[in-house]
Amino acid sequence: MAFSLLAPKPVGAVGGQSGSVRGVLGTVLRYTVLVIAAVLFLLPYYLILRNGLSSEHDITSPNWTFFPSSLHWENLGELFSDPSVPMGHALLNSGLIAVVQTAGQLLLGSMAGYGLARIPYKHANKVFYSVLVTLMIPSAVTFVPSFVLVSSLGWVSDLRGLIIPGLFSGFVAFLFRQFFLNFPVELEDAARVDGLSYWGTFWRIVFPNSLQFYAAIAVITFIAAWNSFLWPLVIGQDPSSWTVQVALSSFITAQTINLHEVFLGAAVSILPLVLVFLFLQRYLVEGVAQTGIKG
């Protein structure tokens, strides 16, 4: 790297001009913009907490206060005992749907991806194209036809209708296929020589060595399932089958609303995602890079 010797400054500092007045000014300016952006991006979270723990009177007061005069933790009990919006049940539904869909999409999608990437079969290409075609069809556009199917199965307002159609993601299968194409084939060959079948090779060699990729896709899938709205809205017509997003939406569009309840509901609904975010951010970032760039 002869150039790096010639270059008088570390690459990261190109344009940074550290040390000079202009450089310091630039740094200050950049951080000012970043801090303003950070405050603006965090503002909605602050509003959710502020309103969720305020009394109704404090929220609707014409005099804006950044910190409510007192925090009303009892709002939490009120939220879960409100009969008009079954928040507790909705959280359970959402949790169940998100977990089962994540597990199902990963299991079915990774198996399909492995088969397409590694098992020679003369019609494998045709099968792969039939998966690719589904990527070209935006999922949101298929909600009318899918509803037609699910309603004729009698799965409206039913967990089966909410979960089962979402178990098969062409996108997840596609991502796993691309990933397994780059999996070190020597490892698999060694396993095959030792007499393992494709099934054994997959579960005992390939799967345990791909956990990081599984985690990345799982985080993305879980968040998408937890946040999805259109399909649960279409299928969840009875309050007993509402997900947390549908419950919140019914709050928004209700005639009379208790603002503190709505915001506390929002806070509760994003709690699982904040936890995922705090503990699995590494996988999340990787998942986004994977799904975005390759998609």
């Binding site: 965090l42 014409p62 088969g115 949101a140 556009v141 299968a173 946040n227 890079a289 760039i293």
Partner: protein, 322 residues
């Protein structure tokens, strides 16, 4: 299969030598076929039932009258399509989408790029800033709409935006109704989506920035390119081409499918109703008109495909350099 290899062997020996491998080969092929379907079969069956069957069914329904029933009723030919394409509400929903895309795609890209560059340059607290900008990407559009509608852009006096403009002595703005004369709902809708999605695209661009080889910057520096704008235009932007194409295409496809925030912020209003919201009310609202709903969904699917392909061509997706 491999006959040419055995052509030098004597005929009798050849046929004997050939049979065993062929049989073994057949068994192997059968084993592979079985394994293939073991792995791919369950997924493919689900895909067929829950993606292909509905689409074909919907295609059939789109040529029939099917109201309050999901069973084809009376064959009407292309009438449903003609109805949809001459339906002013459907056409205006396409107009709404176009306007939305014009607002949201460039603003998202520029904001995500700006933040990605700033974060990439940051020498300390870089992870902090990246996380803060990225966190909303994990938030649901329902929650975003909720905060925007009931707190920030609440049309009454205690809304945050109205509180803010009141300090300048201005009257409260009815943000989400069309009564103000000015379409105030557009800034509300656009900023909501910006907050929700900029972080996602920022991560993509940040990943792109980090893939630009550092020796390109060194070479540019040696060649006398001024650090800053010149380097940015000549090294950074070209290096980000793949990421840029991905961001723009994903962004447009997502904008096409906008539903959550329009539904929750505005509901079934005639003035800003994107295609999916309109289809939702046509097919699943009071009218339960699956014939027209299916025709509309298919028209939309074709439009998205055409626009995506056109955009990919214009941006040169899939060129040799990718």
């Amino acid at each position: 299969m491999s006959e040419t290899q055995t052509s030098t062997v004597a005929p009798a020996a050849r046929s004997a030598a050939r049979k065993a491998p062929v049989r073994r080969k057949n068994r192997q092929v059968r084993g592979r076929t079985g394994a293939f379907w073991l792995f791919v079969g369950p997924f493919l069956v689900g895909l067929a039932i829950f993606i292909y069957v509905p689409i074909v069914w919907s295609l059939v329904l789109s040529f029939f009258r099917a109201q309050n029933t999901v069973v084809p009723d009376v064959f009407v030919g292309i009438k449903n399509y003609v109805d949809m394409l001459t339906d002013s509400a459907f056409l205006s929903s396409l107009g709404t989408f176009t306007l939305f895309a014009i607002f949201i795609v460039p603003t998202t890209y520029l904001l995500a790029l700006g933040l990605a560059v700033l974060i990439n340059r940051a020498r300390f607290a870089r992870t902090f800033f990246r996380s803060v900008i990225f966190i909303p990407a994990a938030c649901s559009y329902v929650v975003g709409s909720l905060v925007w509608k009931l707190s920030i852009f609440n049309g009454v006096r205690f809304g945050l935006a109205n509180t803010l403009i009141a300090t300048f002595g201005a009257d409260p703005i009815p943000w989400l109704s069309a009564t103000g004369g000015f379409p105030w709902y557009w800034p509300v809708i656009v900023t909501a989506r910006l907050w929700l999605q900029v972080g996602f695209y920022m991560i993509l661009l940040l990943a792109g920035l980090q893939q630009i080889p550092s020796n390109l910057y060194e070479a540019a520096y040696v060649d006398g390119a001024k650090p800053g704008w010149q380097t940015f235009v000549n090294v950074t932007l070209p290096g980000l081409r793949t990421a840029t194409v991905a961001v723009l295409i994903l962004n447009l496809i997502n904008a096409y499918q906008a539903f959550d925030e329009f539904y929750n912020l505005l509901g079934n209003v005639p003035y800003a109703r994107p295609p999916l919201v309109y289809l939702y009310y046509t097919a699943l609202g009071a009218s339960q008109d699956y014939g027209h709903g299916s025709a509309g969904a298919l028209i939309l699917a074709v439009l998205i495909a055409v626009v995506t392909i056109f955009q990919a061509r214009v941006l040169g997706f899939g060129r040799a350099s990718d």
